[in-house]
C-alpha cells in the first residue's frame, strides 16, 4: 500500500522552543493513524504544519506524491486535506447547512456574474450543492437541524457538524483533532464507530489526535507517540501498549518499571 502522506524530518520552532523536532511519519492510504502524546507534545502543532497554518523550518511534507510545503491552507485544502479543531471552530452565526455549504466552496465555481444574473448553470450548481449538503447532514445524523445556527447546536452535534463540514470538500485525508473530547462513554462509542465508517464507506484516510486510549487502541492501525516534539515510539496498538518509553512519558520515570514488574 502506498503512503498518502509522508513527513520527513519536520521541525517547527517557536523562538527557542522546538515544538516539533525532526519528525518522520508515513501514513498509508486508507488507514486510520493516530498521533498521541502528553499535553504539549506537539501534536496539534504537527497538524497545523500539515494544514498550512504553520510553516515548518525544516523538513518536507509530501501529500499524494507532491510536496505541500509552502502552500497556503486554502491550497492545501484544495489538494484534498481537511481537518477539524480541538476546540470546535464552526462558523457560529451561520446555519448548520451553510457551514457545510462553505465547506464545498472550492468545489463550486460561480463567482459574481452567475448569481447576479441567475444563470442556469449557477442555479443548477447551487441546487446540487444544497442537495449534497443535506445528504452530508443526514450522514452525520443531523437531518432536520440544518436551519439552526451552528452556535445553538448541542456540543455533540457541533462536533459532528464540524466533521460534516470537513467532509464537504471531499478530502482524501481527514485530520481529526480530539474528536471525542468532552463526550460521555456512549457518545465516544458512537464517534468511534462513525470514524471507522468514514474510512470504510468513503475510503478516506484518517489521521487522529486523541487522548482517550480506548478509542486510540480500538480503531488505530498504526500509532505514533510524541513527547516534547520528538517521536518516541511508533507501531501497532499492541507495540505501543507495551512500550516502556511511552508509559514513562505518560506516567513519569520509574512508573514503567513498576508496571512491567
Amino acid at each position: 500500500m502506498s503512503n498518502i502522506l509522508t513527513a520527513q524530518n519536520v521541525t517547527k520552532r517557536f523562538g527557542g522552543l522546538t515544538a516539533v523536532s525532526t519528525l518522520d511519519i508515513e501514513i498509508p492510504e486508507k488507514s486510520i493513524y493516530s498521533v498521541i502524546g502528553p499535553n504539549g507534545a506537539g501534536k496539534t502543532t504537527f497538524f497545523n504544519c500539515i494544514t498550512g497554518f504553520y510553516h515548518p523550518e525544516e523538513g518536507n511534507i509530501v501529500f499524494d506524491n507532491r510536496t505541500i510545503l509552502g502552500l497556503t491552507s486554502d491550497q492545501i485544502s484544495q489538494r484534498g486535506i481537511s481537518r477539524t479543531y480541538q476546540n470546535i471552530r464552526l462558523f457560529s452565526n451561520l446555519t448548520a447547512l451553510e457551514n457545510i455549504l462553505v465547506g464545498q466552496h472550492a468545489l463550486l465555481k460561480s463567482t459574481l456574474f452567475g448569481p447576479i444574473f441567475g444563470l442556469a448553470s449557477t442555479r443548477r450548481e447551487e441546487a446540487d450543492a444544497l442537495k449534497e449538503a443535506r445528504r452530508l447532514l443526514a450522514f452525520v445524523s443531523l437531518a432536520g437541524k440544518g436551519d439552526l445556527l451552528a452556535k445553538n447546536l448541542p456540543y455533540g452535534d457541533q462536533r459532528r457538524l464540524e466533521i460534516a463540514r470537513a467532509l464537504a470538500s471531499k478530502p482524501k485525508l481527514l485530520l481529526l483533532d480530539e474528536p471525542t473530547a468532552g463526550m460521555n462513554p456512549n457518545e465516544t462509542e458512537d464517534m468511534t464507530k462513525f470514524i471507522r465508517r468514514l474510512r470504510d464507506e468513503l475510503g478516506i484516510t484518517i489521521l487522529l489526535i486523541e487522548h482517550d486510549m480506548r478509542v486510540v487502541m480500538g480503531i488505530s492501525e498504526k500509532i505514533t507517540v510524541l513527547d516534547y516534539g520528538e517521536k518516541i515510539a511508533e507501531g501497532t496498538p499492541k507495540d505501543i501498549q507495551g512500550n516502556e518509553r511511552v508509559i514513562e512519558a505518560y506516567l513519569g520515570r520509574g512508573s514503567a518499571a513498576q508496571i512491567t514488574a
Partner: protein
C-alpha cells in the same frame, strides 16, 4: 439583570430615580426643555418640552418597576412611584435652588422662563413644588401599572403614543405636503386644528391614537390567523399575492415624488444616496466583516470622476465634457480600482488595525482633492462646478423630483445585486471570513480574491452613489467628503442590523431621514442622537431588523412536497 445582586430593590429604585432626575435637570440646564417648549405636540395642551420631561420620568420608572416575571405588584408600584418621586424631586430641587441662588450667572439656560415651565406657570412656589413631587409619583405609579396590562395591549399603547408624537412633530411637513390635495382640507383642519396652530388638535390626537392602537392590537392578535389563512391558500395564489404587494410597493415608489413634492423628494434623494452607500458598505462590513472607516473615499472618487469628466466650465484644466452616462461607468471603475488598490496592502491586516488604515485612506483621498498641488485638476477647495445631469432622450433629470428616479434605479440595482450575492457561493465565503478567517481559509477559500472582491463590490456601490451625488448637486467640494460621512454610513448599518438588507433601508430612514425633519432642534440633534444610539445598543444590540436566519433545509423540503403534490 439575570443574576441576583446584593442591592435591595428600593435602593435600586432610588438609584434609577436619581439618574432620571440628573437627566431631567441636565436637559433643563442645557436649554433643551425651554427651546422645545415653543412647540406644541397637542395644540394648546402639551408642549414638546413637557413631553420630553414626561418621557424621562416614564422611561426611568418603567425600568425601575420592571423587575422580573414574578415580582409582586406592591413592590413594582412602590419602585415606580419611588423613582418618579426622586426624579420629580430633583427637578423640584432645581427650582428651589434657582429661587435662592442666581444660577444664571454660570448656567445661562437657567432662565426665568425655564422656572415658569417647571412650576406650571404657578405663582406660589410651594404649591408648584408639591405639584412636581406629586406629578412625578403619580406618573411613576401609572408607569408601573403598565406592567399589569397584557403585553399585546402594552405594546399597542406604546405604539399609539409614539405615532401620535411623530405625527405631531412632523405636522408641518404633513400639512405642506397634503395641502396640495384640496379635497382633504377639512379633514386636515379637524386633525391639526386651525392654521397657525402647531401639533395635533385634541380630537386629532385621540383619533390617531385610537386608530394606531387598534390596528396594532389587531395585527398582534389577528395577524397569525390571517397569516395562516394566507398560507392555506394554494401556492399559485400566494405567489400572486406576494407579487401583487411587491407591484403595489413599486407603483407607490414610482409615484412618490408626485405625492411628496420637491422638498420631500429632495429629502428622499438624500436618504436614497445613503441607502446606496449603506448597501455597499454592508457588503464589506456586514457580510465580510472588514471594518472600513474610510468608505467615503469611494463616494468621493465616484463624485470627482463624474465631475472631472463631465464639467463644462470653471477653473480646472480638464475638458472632456462627457455625458453623465458616459462618465458613470468610469466613475464606478475608478472607485473599484481604488477598492482593489486599498485592498491589496491591507489583506493581512485585521480588526482595529484595518479600521485605522481605511480611516487614513479616506482622509488621504479627501486631502488629495483639497490640495493646492492638484488644484488644476480638482479645483482645490473651490471644487468643480457645472457637472452634467443625467439625460434620457429629451428628459433632463435635474430637479429633485426627476433625479429621484435615477437614485431609485441605483438603489434597486444595488439592492438586487446585494440580495443575489447574499446566498451565493461568494456571499457565504464572505460570511465565513467574518466568522473565522483562518478556518475559512482552511476550508479552501482564497482570502486574497474573496476579500478584494468584497472591497471592490462595496466600492462600486459607493462610486455609483458618488457619481449621482455629484450630478445631483452639479458641484463637488472636498468638504462634502468628510470622515463623518463614513461614520454615518457605518452607524446606519449598525442601527439597521449588520448584514441585513432591510436593515440598511430602515437605518437610512432613521439616521438620515429623521434628522432632516428635526432640523429645528439642530442644537440638540447630536445629543438626542447619541442618547438614542446608546439606548438602542443597550436594548437591541443586533439592530432593528437583524439579518434573518435563512431557512433552507426544511423550506426546500416543503417546496419539494408542494411540487410533488401538484
Amino acid at each position: 439583570m439575570e443574576h441576583e445582586s446584593k442591592t435591595p430593590w428600593w435602593l435600586k429604585a432610588l438609584q434609577t430615580g436619581l439618574i432620571g432626575g440628573v437627566v431631567a435637570v441636565l436637559s433643563c440646564l442645557i436649554g433643551m426643555i425651554e427651546s422645545f417648549h415653543e412647540r406644541d405636540i397637542i395644540a394648546g395642551q402639551i408642549t414638546m418640552g413637557e413631553t420630553v420631561l414626561l418621557l424621562i420620568v416614564i422611561t426611568f420608572s418603567y425600568f425601575s418597576s420592571r423587575g422580573t416575571e414574578d415580582t409582586a405588584l406592591p413592590k413594582r408600584l412602590t419602585s415606580g412611584a419611588l423613582t418618579g418621586l426622586v426624579t420629580g424631586g430633583l427637578v423640584a430641587g432645581l427650582v428651589l435652588l434657582g429661587k435662592w441662588v442666581n444660577l444664571r450667572e454660570i448656567l445661562v439656560n437657567a432662565s426665568p422662563n425655564l422656572y415658569k415651565i417647571l412650576t406650571f406657570e404657578m405663582e406660589n412656589t410651594t404649591t408648584a413644588l408639591a405639584y412636581l413631587l406629586i406629578a412625578g409619583t403619580v406618573i411613576g405609579l401609572l408607569t408601573a401599572l403598565l406592567h399589569l396590562i397584557p403585553t399585546v395591549w402594552r405594546r399597542a399603547v406604546i405604539y399609539g403614543l409614539t405615532i401620535v408624537s411623530l405625527i405631531a412633530l412632523l405636522q408641518d411637513l404633513i400639512r405642506i405636503t397634503l395641502t396640495r390635495f384640496p379635497q382633504i382640507t377639512e379633514a386636515l383642519a379637524w386633525m391639526f386644528g386651525s392654521r397657525g396652530q402647531e401639533g395635533l388638535s385634541v380630537n386629532g390626537a385621540i383619533a390617531v391614537f385610537l386608530i394606531v392602537t387598534a390596528l396594532n392590537y389587531a395585527s398582534a392578535t389577528r395577524g397569525d390567523s390571517i397569516r395562516s389563512r394566507v398560507r392555506a391558500l394554494p401556492t399559485g395564489t400566494q405567489q400572486g399575492l406576494r407579487w401583487g404587494s411587491w407591484l403595489l410597493l413599486f407603483a407607490f415608489l414610482l409615484i412618490w415624488p408626485r405625492i411628496a413634492g420637491p422638498y420631500l423628494s429632495e429629502v428622499t434623494n438624500g436618504i436614497g444616496l445613503f441607502i446606496l452607500m449603506g448597501l455597499g458598505l454592508n457588503i464589506v462590513v456586514g457580510y465580510a466583516g472588514l471594518l472600513d472607516l474610510g468608505y467615503v473615499a469611494f463616494f468621493a472618487l465616484g463624485a470627482y470622476t463624474m465631475a472631472v469628466l463631465t464639467t463644462t466650465g470653471g477653473e480646472i484644466t480638464a475638458n472632456f465634457e462627457w455625458t453623465f452616462w458616459q462618465a458613470l461607468p468610469a466613475a464606478i471603475f475608478m472607485a473599484v480600482l481604488a477598492g482593489v488598490v486599498l485592498g491589496i496592502p491591507v489583506l493581512k491586516i485585521r480588526g482595529d488595525y484595518l479600521a485605522i488604515i481605511t480611516l487614513g485612506f479616506g482622509e488621504i483621498i479627501r486631502i488629495m482633492f483639497l490640495s493646492d498641488f492638484l488644484k488644476p485638476y480638482f479645483g482645490g477647495s473651490f471644487g468643480i462646478v457645472l457637472i452634467a445631469s443625467p439625460t434620457f432622450g429629451n428628459l433632463r433629470f435635474n430637479t429633485p423630483q426627476t433625479l429621484y428616479y435615477v437614485i431609485l434605479a441605483g438603489c434597486l440595482l444595488a439592492l438586487f445585486v446585494a440580495y443575489r450575492l447574499r446566498d451565493s457561493r461568494m456571499g457565504r465565503a464572505w460570511k465565513a471570513i467574518r466568522e473565522d478567517e483562518d478556518v475559512a481559509q482552511a476550508m479552501g477559500i482564497n482570502l486574497t480574491s474573496t476579500k478584494l472582491l468584497a472591497f471592490a463590490m462595496g466600492a462600486a456601490f459607493g462610486g455609483l452613489g458618488g457619481a449621482i451625488f455629484a450630478s445631483k448637486l452639479s458641484t463637488v467640494y472636498p468638504h462634502s467628503f468628510v470622515f463623518l460621512v463614513s461614520i454615518n454610513v457605518l452607524a446606519l448599518i449598525i442601527v439597521g442590523g449588520m448584514g441585513s438588507l432591510p436593515g440598511v433601508i430602515v437605518g437610512a430612514l432613521l439616521l438620515v431621514g429623521l434628522p432632516e425633519f428635526l432640523r429645528e432642534f439642530s442644537e440638540f440633534r447630536n445629543l438626542i442622537f447619541g442618547a438614542l444610539l446608546i439606548a438602542m445598543m443597550l436594548s437591541k444590540p443586533e439592530g432593528f431588523l437583524p439579518e434573518a436566519v435563512h431557512r433552507r433545509e426544511l423550506h426546500e423540503a416543503d417546496n419539494a412536497a408542494n411540487t410533488a403534490g401538484t
